[in-house]
């Protein structure tokens, strides 16, 4: 006997997606009027900076880690990568503080906060491996100093900061993949739940389902 359509995994996923994240939520053309502060800009600014990081990173990856030392275009591309990382963190930290002071985890949004906070931690790891693969004096220094921290808790047995090959692969493949997935899930959660309402919002503004 074949499985009824509504019990199929694909059908379940489709109906769950349609129920929780219809296209109107995914690509809205209006939003609550209280979303008016400049603080709201920093979420999308963080994603924009991530876009510039990935684009410049792809160019650097095609040419190899030592290219930018000897090429003017390479040096310029590396500069774009460097400054977009600086902006990414500045925007993300402001976004994070903003969401903290909004208590943005209210209303079943705990997982949205958690994915964002984990993305912040993964971003630090991704940037750190980037500093290790610069193939310049800075990366020599950082790898020598940082090994002690990782070795001291046993992590250094597998995560070898002095191993350029390992750090390069983690920096350009594994960690960006994790960060990309976390960012996507985070954004989809924001779209699904909507922007958190103001603390002490007027009851009439929020319709509680009976």
């Amino acid at each position: 006997m074949s499985t009824p359509t509504h019990e199929m995994w694909t059908a379940r996923l489709r109906s769950s997606w349609q129920r929780n994240l219809p296209i109107e939520k995914l690509l809205p053309d209006d939003q609550p009027a209280y979303v008016a502060s400049w603080i709201y800009v920093f979420g999308v600014a963080t994603i924009a900076a991530l876009g510039v990081i990935i684009a410049s990173g792809i160019v650097l990856a095609f040419q190899g880690p030592a290219w930018y030392h000897t090429s003017d275009i390479g040096n310029f591309t590396n500069s774009i990568h460097f400054w977009s990382v600086q902006m990414f963190f500045a925007f993300m930290v402001i976004h994070l503080w903003g969401k903290f002071w909004m208590a943005a985890w209210r209303g079943n949004r705990v997982r949205t906060w958690i994915t964002g906070a984990v993305a912040f931690v993964v971003s630090i790891a991704t940037a750190f491996t980037g500093y290790l693969v610069q193939t310049n004096f800075d990366s020599q220094w950082i790898s020598f100093e940082a090994k002690d921290g990782f070795n001291s808790v046993g992590v250094g047995a597998w995560f070898t900061v002095t191993n350029l090959g390992q750090m390069l692969l983690l920096h350009v493949a594994f960690l960006p993949l994790i960060l990309g997935v976390l960012t996507l899930v985070h954004v989809l959660m924001v779209r699904r739940r909507g922007v958190v309402p103001p603390i002490d919002a007027v009851p009439a503004n929020l319709e509680v389902r009976k």
Partner: protein
């Protein structure tokens, strides 16, 4: 969850029924991307980015030959930082601990390094060498390990006694050690050691661990780090070479290294194991950040400190909502 907090959760999760305004999400994203792209291009054109040339063994052996030579001897004698490090490189020490947790020791020796052979004998053996070096190598290899230790330790102690001033080292039972150290110094000066340490006689190699560790055993790397203001005790973890911003997001990690007991190696157990304690502390704090919505006292801070009144000022004013006490 109490009934009132459950009701509050449901209230905050409910669909918005109040005033809305037009919102073009695609336009917002495109404009943000353009603005950030323009800003990064402008900063890149104006300021560039840091890129200090890496140090080399040639540079070390040329500018501070005695220090390189003495470090080579310490590698043979087993007294260098790497030789006495412990896991994951060797079993010479247990490593750091956090109370009863000896994580470094338990993780084991996963990246074995034998400073005698990996740093000195193997690189020297890859070279076309003089009769003197060939003879020194042959003597070293033919000797028993105890004899090798005696030669190297005698010479290492003699160098330490005269504080690294090689010309003041008295004659003694050093075997072929001076010749080996001189051979490695000459090899480094000629520029042959960087690649030999990396390749270890092989072809493909992407692991720079041996080069980095050997560098750290002498004073050359450390001096360069001090000159660039990169030392951990002076917030170096979040600094960058030149006048560029570094990893400022590591400020909290760096902070612990500036205060007692973490910044005092003599202070037991925390200062002596600062790296491990700080790593565990930062792990716990990171977990705390992730789980803020579940931590009593912290999760209600935003309600008690009215920064949200500024964020939603317009909404509160339009609806005449006064601040509520929590």
């Amino acid at each position: 969850m109490s009934r009132s907090s459950k009701a509050k959760e449901e209230f905050d999760a409910a669909p918005w029924q109040g005033k809305t305004r037009k919102y073009d999400i695609i336009k917002e994203g495109t404009v943000a991307l353009l603005v950030v792209a323009i800003l990064t291009v402008a900063l890149s054109l104006l300021l560039g980015s840091p890129d200090d040339t890496p140090l080399t063994f040639k540079g070390w052996a040329t500018t501070n030959s005695d220090n390189f030579y003495a470090t080579a001897v310490s590698e043979l004698a087993g007294t260098s930082g790497t030789a006495t490090y412990g896991p994951p490189y060797n079993s010479a020490a247990d490593g750091l601990n956090v109370g009863p947790l000896w994580l470094q020791k338990w993780a084991g020796v996963s990246r074995p390094i034998d400073t005698v052979n990996d740093f000195v004998i193997a690189p020297l053996s890859t070279q076309v060498m003089s009769v003197e070096i060939a003879s020194a190598l042959a003597t070293w290899k033919a000797a028993a390990q105890t004899e090798q230790n005696t030669w190297a330790t005698n010479y290492d102690s003699a160098i330490a006694k005269v504080e690294g001033k090689l010309s003041a080292v008295p004659a003694g039972n050093y075997g072929p050690v001076p010749a080996l150290a001189q051979g490695l110094t000459d090899m480094a000066k000629a520029g042959g050691l960087d690649a030999a340490l990396l390749s270890q006689g092989g072809f493909f190699q992407t692991d720079n661990t041996k080069q980095i560790l050997f560098f750290g055993d002498g004073s050359y790397l450390d001096d360069a780090g001090t000159a660039a203001n990169l030392q951990g005790g002076t917030w170096g973890m979040m600094n960058e070479t030149g006048r560029y911003p570094g990893q400022a997001w590591l400020w909290l990690y760096s902070f612990w290294y500036q205060i007692p007991p973490f910044n005092n190696e003599e202070s037991k157990p925390i200062g002596a194991n600062a790296d491990a304690y700080i790593m565990v502390l930062m792990g716990a704090l990171s977990l705390g950040l992730i789980l803020i919505p579940l931590i009593p006292g912290v999760k209600t801070l935003p309600m008690r400190i009215p920064i949200h009144r500024g964020i939603w000022r317009q909404y509160y004013e339009e609806n005449g909502i006064k601040r509520r006490k929590y």
